[in-house]
Each structure stands twice: as C-alpha cells, then as structure tokens.
C-alpha cells in the first residue's frame, strides 16, 4: 500500500453527504428577510414622517400665538399725574414708564405746576400790598 494507491482510492469514489432537505429553503428565507424590511421598520416609515410634520405644525402655531413684544415708547401714554404723585421717584415707576423722554416731560410739567402754584400764592400778597 503506497502513496499512489491511496491517491487513487481517494479519487475513485468520494463520498456524498446527506444534506438536510430544508437547508436550501432556510437559506433563501434568511436572505429574503435580510432584503425585505421588517413590518416594524415599514410601520415606522409611515408614522414617523407624519409625526414630525404634526410636531412642526404645532410648533409654528405656538409661535404665532405669542404677543409681539411691547414697544415701550408707543405704549407709554402721557397721563396727568395727581399732585400726590409728584414726590415719587423714577425708580418707583413701572418699567414701561422709564422712558427718558416721558420722565423729562413729567419733570417739566412738575416745574410748570410749581411755578403756577408760586404765582397763585404770590398774587394775594400783591393785592394786599396795594
């Protein structure tokens, strides 16, 4: 029994192996499962874009509901302050009133009132002097 005899024996009749009948089907099924997306993935593709659009619409609507920021100069309406309020400082006034022009106008008005009151106070003394 030498090397070439063994070589011939091995070449002559190689055995065949019994392959499971379902193996080919299983391989095909696995490859198809790889190719086709799963139902979960398909469901996500339908729902997720719609949800994203809805969220975007809701956000835009909320943005529209917000009031415009108040314009300080326009909202400050010059009001006649009572005499008692003359003593209050600028810091005590609300934020909308802290307009440099309105405080200037108020100061001028205050000066005018003081001047007027001074003149009224002086008039009787003049008449009395006569």
């Amino acid at each position: 029994m030498n090397d070439s005899n063994i070589d011939q024996m091995l070449r002559r009749k190689p055995p065949t192996i019994e392959v499971p009948a379902s193996l080919e089907t299983k391989i095909r099924a696995r490859v198809r499962a790889e190719v086709a997306p799963s139902p979960t993935v398909r469901w996500q593709w339908i729902v997720l874009p719609a949800a994203a659009v809805l969220m975007l619409v809701a956000l835009l609507r909320n943005e529209g509901d917000h009031p415009t920021p108040p314009e300080l100069v326009q909202t400050t309406t010059p009001t006649e302050l009572p005499t008692a309020e003359v003593t209050e400082t600028v810091e005590d006034l609300p934020l909308v009133a802290r307009n440099p022009l309105s405080s200037e106008a108020r100061a001028l008005r205050r000066d005018a009132e003081r001047t007027g009151r001074f003149l009224i106070n002086c008039l009787p003394s003049l008449t009395q002097a006569e």
């Binding site: 024996m9 091995l10 070449r11 055995p15 392959v19 193996l23 299983k26 696995r30 490859v31 790889e34």
Partner: protein
C-alpha cells in the same frame, strides 16, 4: 488556478446587482458543497447547518467585495471557514475525543478510506483532503482557503496519505474482528449515501 465557470461569472454579476433569483440559483448550486465542507470542519451536523445559512447570508451582504476574477466556490469556502473558526473560538474548549477504531467494510473499500481519514487525521488534514479530492480544488486554492502556502498543503496531503497507508496496512495484517456488534461510530456521513 481553476478555470472560471461562465455560469458562475453570470451568477456573480447578477448577484452583485442585487438579483434574488440569481442568488437562489447560486444557493441551489453550492449549498450542498458548502454544507459538506463545513461538516468536515465542525463534524457536527447542526453546527454545519447553521454555519451554511450564515455563510450564504454573509456572502449576500459582502458580494460587492467578491473579486470576479476568482472562482466562486473557494470564496464561499473561505467565508465558511472563517465563520467556523469564529464559532469554535466562542465556544468553551471541549476535551479531545479518543481516536476511533475503524473497521473497514470489505464491500465498500472506497468509502472506508474516507471513514478512516475522518477518524485518524486531524481536522485540518481531513479538510485539505476533502477539498483536494472531493471538491477537486487545486493545491493553491486549498491553501488559500485554509490560509496556508501551496507547499504546506502539499506536505500535509502527503503526510495524510502516508498515515492512511500505514493504517490500512496495519488493519490488513490484523486478524478479522469478532462478530460482536461494535458500537455505532459518530460519523459525519452515512455509508448508504455514497455516490455510485
């Protein structure tokens, strides 16, 4: 290098383009040979079945990396061998079984030499023998699949043949076995499944 099969070239082209019917044809053509090869590596039918499925799945995913100048079957064998190594590494080491005593049936001498080879040779030597004699792959391709040089495969096959010759000679010199029924041997194939 083995000549490229024109049918394989066409199949590879269609598979690379993503054709499932072409891949079905490829599976039908080669799944049995890949399974048989994996059986020689794992010596376990269930593992070989799982790994065959995994091999074809991996091949489908990586078809863009297939070199169309190379034959298709050795490429599949290379994927299969890598997967089997990966699977064996993940498992805990098993105790090495004792070498099996094979009694050659006189009426089937050609099958019995394969049984003897299965029992007496290492997995690697048996796989090399299988690829060269059963799948008729040239030594260079066998080396490429097993990650060895052509010369190393040649030496491995020579030693395997020498081992088999020594065992055959030894068994022929022994007296015939007693008629008591020997325990069934865990073989990877059935003796009834030999090709005519």
């Amino acid at each position: 290098m083995a000549a490229l099969d024109p049918e394989d070239i066409q199949l590879a082209r269609e598979c690379r383009a993503g054709s499932l019917p072409a891949y079905d044809r490829l599976v039908a053509k080669y799944h049995a040979r890949v399974f048989a090869f994996l059986l020689t590596l794992t010596r376990h039918r269930h593992d070989a079945e799982d790994l065959t499925q995994e091999t074809f799945l991996r091949a489908w995913r990586k078809f863009d990396r297939y070199d169309s100048k190379q034959p298709l079957l050795p490429w599949l064998f290379t994927i299969a061998r890598r997967l089997s190594i990966s699977m064996l590494r993940k498992r805990k080491p098993m105790p090495t079984p004792e070498p099996e005593q094979v009694v050659l049936p006189v009426e089937q001498p050609d099958t019995s030499i394969w049984r003897l080879a299965e029992a007496q040779l290492s997995r690697e030597a048996f796989t090399a023998l299988w690829l060269h004699y059963h799948d008729e792959l040239p030594l260079a391709q066998v080396g490429k699949i097993l990650g060895k040089r052509e010369g190393a495969v040649k030496v491995m096959l020579h030693r395997a043949r020498k081992t088999l010759a020594g065992h055959l000679q030894q068994m022929r010199n022994q007296p015939p076995p007693l008629p008591a029924t020997p325990p069934p041997l865990p073989s990877i194939w059935n003796s009834a499944q030999t090709t005519p």
